[in-house]
């Protein structure tokens, strides 16, 4: 199992997920609207074609941070 800290500027929650969980499944489980801003995995920005990759595909074996940065409309 992988400890994934998922969140955005409002808060972060830890989830225990299998290595075969996709990034999209993880974001949906955490109810993160990933269409509203960029998502980073351990600080590296993800592309849209990364969403259906698993944590194992991304080389994550034990723990990681999956965070969303929402762009403000006036930014």
């Amino acid at each position: 199992m992988i400890k994934v800290t998922i969140g955005n500027s409002l808060g972060r929650t830890e989830y225990m997920l299998t290595p075969t969980t996709t990034i999209r499944q993880a974001l949906e489980q955490a109810e993160i609207d990933y269409a509203r801003g960029g998502v980073s995995l351990d600080g590296c920005p993800l592309q849209s074609n990364d969403l259906d990759k698993t944590f194992a595909d991304k080389g994550i074996t034990e723990k990681c941070f999956l965070l969303q940065v929402v762009k403000a409309d006036n930014a």
Binding site: M1, I2, K3, E14, M16, T18, P19, T20, T61, E62, K63
Partner: protein
């Protein structure tokens, strides 16, 4: 109580709970597979079933199939660097998987009651279904 066997380079962790029951809990009570701290806030360890087995300090993923004669859930991990001497190999495995095994044992003690609860609910639903 979960057990560990070493067969050549393969390390096999065999749970006391069957794979079918583990999948049943994962489907109907996934939160029961998370071992929480005393306050019930932080997840200390979690188990699940998946395509292939793995163990980290945060949890264990059991193989999605089992060849165990009693259909117990198993995790198979290849350890090609195990020492040839049995005592040294056992010590290395105990060091690497000991903590996880303790957590798995604690979870296993809680799961039979969950299975019974699910089966009771399932039986009630089945009784309420009328086929005409």
């Amino acid at each position: 109580m979960a057990k560990i066997s070493i067969a050549g380079s393969a390390v096999i962790i065999t749970s006391d709970i069957s794979l079918d029951n583990l999948k049943l809990i994962q489907k109907y009570r996934p939160q029961a597979l998370n071992l929480k701290d005393e306050e019930g806030k932080t997840t200390l360890f979690a188990v699940a079933t998946g395509e292939s087995g793995s163990v980290t300090k945060y949890g264990a993923v059991f193989n999605g199939f089992t060849r165990d004669t009693e259909k117990k859930a198993t995790i198979t991990i290849m350890k090609n660097d195990l020492p040839a001497e049995a005592d040294k190999a056992k010590a290395e495995i105990a060091d690497e998987f000991g903590t996880a095994l303790n957590f798995i044992n604690k979870l296993e003690a809680l799961l039979p009651a969950v299975v019974e609860e699910i089966n009771t609910e399932h039986a009630a639903i089945m009784a309420a279904i009328d086929v005409q």
